[in-house]
């Protein structure tokens, strides 16, 4: 009787997967924590889970950041009981838009730091949520009346989260 030998993946590959999973679990935890916070406005959250997407982007690259953004919304929504509800769709649209805009800014805007990338991500997140609600759920332009003050809050949270991400990334780099 022959026994098949499973090839062991290289250590650096395992380390990379473990780091991504650790960030994913952290992002899911923050997603659940943010869902429990009192609402400051329609679809406004401090964006702490988005901070982890930004960390994944600078530490691991765009593919990992995008998959982390999608993974944390799907698994996080499962835990808070909003999977496949309008809240889930709004959250997914915001998370993916933020990840895509942050990747584009990181690649193509010269001289930008994590603060600027996070700022653009926060604004994209808020805009994408309103566009999703307006196009899929409540088709009324009146929804946009609430947008400017929320974008202002997004600027503040995006700037602070970017500074935090920069601080954490500097400490995590070997």
């Amino acid at each position: 009787m022959k026994t098949s030998v499973l090839s062991r993946p290289p250590l650096h590959e395992l380390e990379s997967k473990a780091s991504w999973l650790a960030l994913l679990m952290l992002a899911i935890g923050l997603h659940i924590f943010e869902a429990a916070l009192p609402s400051l406005g329609p679809w406004f959250k401090p964006g702490l889970a988005n901070l982890i997407t930004l960390l994944a982007l600078v530490l691991m690259g765009p593919k990992h950041a995008l998959s982390l953004a999608m993974g944390r919304v799907i698994i996080g929504s499962f835990f808070i009981g909003t999977l496949f509800t309008p809240t889930f769709v709004i959250s997914l649209a915001g998370g993916m838009a933020a990840a895509l805009v942050m990747i584009a800014a990181w690649r193509w805007i010269p001289g930008i730091s994590l603060v600027g990338i996070s700022l653009l991500g926060a604004l994209a997140h808020m805009l994408a949520q309103f566009v999703t609600v307006e196009s899929l759920f409540i088709q009324q332009a009146a929804l946009y009346y609430a947008l400017p003050p929320l974008l202002l809050l997004s600027c503040i949270s995006g700037w602070i989260n970017g500074a935090l991400a920069g601080y954490i990334a500097a400490r995590l780099e070997p």
């Binding site: 609402s39 309008p86 609600v133 009146a142 700037w159």
Partner: protein, 147 residues
């Protein structure tokens, strides 16, 4: 000695955080552009919604179902039910403003948000597809809660 090393490390990390908060010139220019766009859109929206008497507009999905004037002190309040996607939502418009008093949605955030009576205020229940916006001459102030 150990305390000195810890203190130096703390000071250095505080300095790093301060530097991180400053951002680069590119970051500051992006922030300035964003703030200008937000201020411009704020003025345009306020100019549109602050004119005329104070009213509550009630929408279901794409349709404007009703427009009610906000009652002043001593005037009778308005109660009605609105059929949404999930079921009946109950809306109350009284001297304190407009509010959703009951809703079939699971999180009840629209109910918990309470009364709103300022131009630009909004109550939205996305699962039930109901939106109430307030417009007209009153102190323009942001206030909104949704599910």
């Amino acid at each position: 000695m150990c305390d000195m090393v810890t203190l130096a490390a703390n000071l250095s990390s505080r300095q790093n955080m301060r530097n991180a908060l400053k951002g680069t010139w590119t970051d500051r220019i992006l922030l300035l552009v964003a703030l200008l766009c937000i201020a411009l859109s704020w003025f345009v929206i306020q100019a549109n919604i602050a004119a005329g008497p104070a009213v509550a507009e009630v929408y279901y999905d794409k349709t404007l179902m009703a427009t009610y004037p906000l009652p002043q002190k001593g005037q009778a309040s308005i109660h009605f039910q609105l059929e949404g996607k999930l079921g009946l939502s109950e809306v109350v418009i009284d001297e304190q403003g407009a509010r959703i008093s009951s809703s079939p949605c699971s999180s009840q955030r629209c109910v918990l948000s309470g009364s709103h009576r300022h131009a630009g205020d909004m109550i939205a229940c996305v699962p039930n597809r109901i939106l109430i916006t307030l417009r007209g001459s009153s102190a323009s102030r942001f206030d909104a809660i949704v599910e």
